[in-house]
Amino acid sequence: MSKYFEVRWHGRGGQGTVTGAKSLAEAVQGTGKCVSAFPDYGPERRGAPVRAFDRFSDSRIRIHTPVLSPDVVMIVDTTLIGGKGLVEGAGESTIFVVNTERNAAETKELLSLTTQPVYTVPANSISYRLFKREIPNSAMMGAFARACPEVISLEALVAEAEKIFAHILAADLVGKNIEAIKCGYDEVQTA
């Protein structure tokens, strides 16, 4: 792991993107790494594009600046594709994890990516199946573990997420979210 492993999330206000970034950081923190996670608060309107950031490191993280050259870009809402800033600062090997029903090759083309690996996950479908509404975070976290096993394995993610969710959710919802993580992990496509 280089000094900081950096993740940039793109979502929409009200979708839980900030919570997703924070939950992922908490899970990674549980594996013994130092983490930080923070939102890029603009006007807090439902539906407005929002960004959130994660940094993971083996040593203390000192910087608080937004992530400019991400190792991973998490796109929580497929309708953001084509909008500004998604691929900004991405390097040749920046990983894209996209919540979409499209296949990975098509998504890669839509994002005009070449060398960058793209992981797609139908997180909305998974979420509707399990929760009967659109809360894609847990499936996105599962997809992240699939894309970046060197940061967190599925086993570690599930173990940590159980602890994190137990603090904030009822028991049946903890179970469903764990299920969503596993589905997210399993249903990933790559290109």
Binding site: Q29, C34, S36, R62, H64
Partner: protein, 393 residues
């Protein structure tokens, strides 16, 4: 057992408050400090802390209630930001003049207008003359640690002054960071008992608070406040040292980062210090003699100690995250005063940044050090004072 957690700055302050377990918290919500009181209200509702939580109708009332509760002998805390702190203004001076050791978490945010919710230090810097001790924090850990130290400092018999713990809005308040929360019992043993001072509730020994002082006594009471501030300096050092022994994290009045042989120094407050350290490490690897002096205690201001720490510097850039309209930034003014008698006196200039949350990126900081290098080589400062990252130059 101490616990390593990824928690927001606001969450960390709320945990510190739970551990301090004040008798009274009177508060009114304002972004970005709201989560502190939200979390704390949860602790009260869950019975984790036996605090009287007073939800008032304004920040002016919040501080008024704090003053009354403190004069009644309670340990008292609150949290606020920006316009909320501004609405407390009148009562800040009353709290200080009445020597009530009230603790406030100030989550730094820009003052209106235009309305802005993001970080700058205009709020607490504006309150710098109100008679409150001000301690600033770079990150979540330091905000938490400063709050744990606050009761012992503010309530010390030689001090008895109200105290603000300042942390950057959003950048710290809303970011989760890996940090260490200490064990409740150890923290409580460190803080010690709160000693009431002529409590209004002590009916056997009645007292009056807030009486009139005219030209016959007002200035004597102000002199006493000034002396208490001077006393606060060694007390802060002593409490910080005890904290270091107890919990392993050491704090001084300010932090000297790679300062000993630094020729080019930046002086700054709060979270930007993290970015500065990052760039300084890079520049050091490139052989540049650069360093940071990070202010922790702004009131009382450690003039002599800072002068000594900067004695080897050749050029000093002071970063203010607030401005005084029609004057230099408040930190720059203090650093100038610190260095007036220095011989030789380093070159010195002021840069204002980050108002209303404007970012200062790592590249910007590199540029800043480039500029100080050029000034030093040319032996001349082109602009004594300027804004960074402002469109239109």
């Amino acid at each position: 057992m101490p616990e390593t957690r990824a928690i927001t700055g606001n969450g960390a302050i709320a945990e510190a408050m739970r551990q301090i377990a004040p008798d009274v918290v009177a508060a009114f919500p304002i972004t970005p400090s709201t989560q502190i009181i939200e979390d704390f209200a949860g602790f009260v509702a869950d019975g984790k802390v036996d605090t009287e939580l007073i939800t008032v109708e304004s920040e002016h009332s919040a501080m008024s209630a704090c003053i009354g509760a403190s004069a009644a002998g309670g340990r008292v805390m609150t949290a606020t930001s920006a316009n909320g702190l501004a609405l407390m203004w009148e009562m800040l001076y009353v709290a200080a003049g009445m020597r009530q050791p009230i603790l406030v978490a100030v989550v730094n945010r820009a003052l209106s207008a235009p309305i802005n919710i993001h970080c700058d230090h205009g709020d607490s810097m504006g309150a710098r003359d109100a008679g409150w001790i001000q301690i600033y924090a770079e990150n979540n850990q330091q905000a938490y640690d400063n709050m744990i130290m606050a009761p012992a400092i503010a309530g010390h018999a030689d001090v008895r002054l109200p105290l603000m713990v300042c942390l950057d809005g959003f950048i710290i308040s809303h970011s989760i960071e890996t940090m260490q929360l200490e064990e409740d019992r150890q923290v409580q043993a460190f803080i010690g008992e709160h000693k009431a001072f002529h409590s209004l509730l002590d009916t056997a020994n009645p007292s009056s608070w807030g009486a009139l002082d005219l030209h016959d006594y007002y200035i004597e009471h102000k002199k006493a406040q000034q002396v208490a501030m001077a006393n606060a300096k060694p007390v802060i050092e002593e409490v910080s040292e005890r904290f270091g022994k107890e919990f392993g994290r050491r704090y001084e009045l300010f932090e000297s980062y790679r300062l000993d042989d630094a020729e080019r120094v930046v002086v700054a407050i709060n979270s930007v210090a993290g970015e500065l350290k990052e760039v300084i490490d890079e520049l050091r690897d490139e052989g540049e003699k650069v360093g940071l002096l990070k202010i922790r205690v702004f009131r009382p201001f450690p003039y002599a100690e800072i002068a000594a720490a900067l004695k080897n510097s050749k050029i000093v850039t002071v970063l203010d995250r607030s401005t005084s309209m029609g004057a230099y930034g408040p930190l720059f003014v203090e650093i100038c005063s610190s260095l007036y008698d220095a011989n030789p006196r380093p070159m010195l200039y002021s840069r204002t940044f980050g108002l209303g949350g404007r970012e200062l990126l790592l590249d910007d900081i590199r540029d800043l050090f480039e500029e100080s290098k050029r000034y030093l080589n040319e032996g001349k400062i082109e602009k004594t004072s300027d804004f960074l990252n402002v469109r239109g130059g």
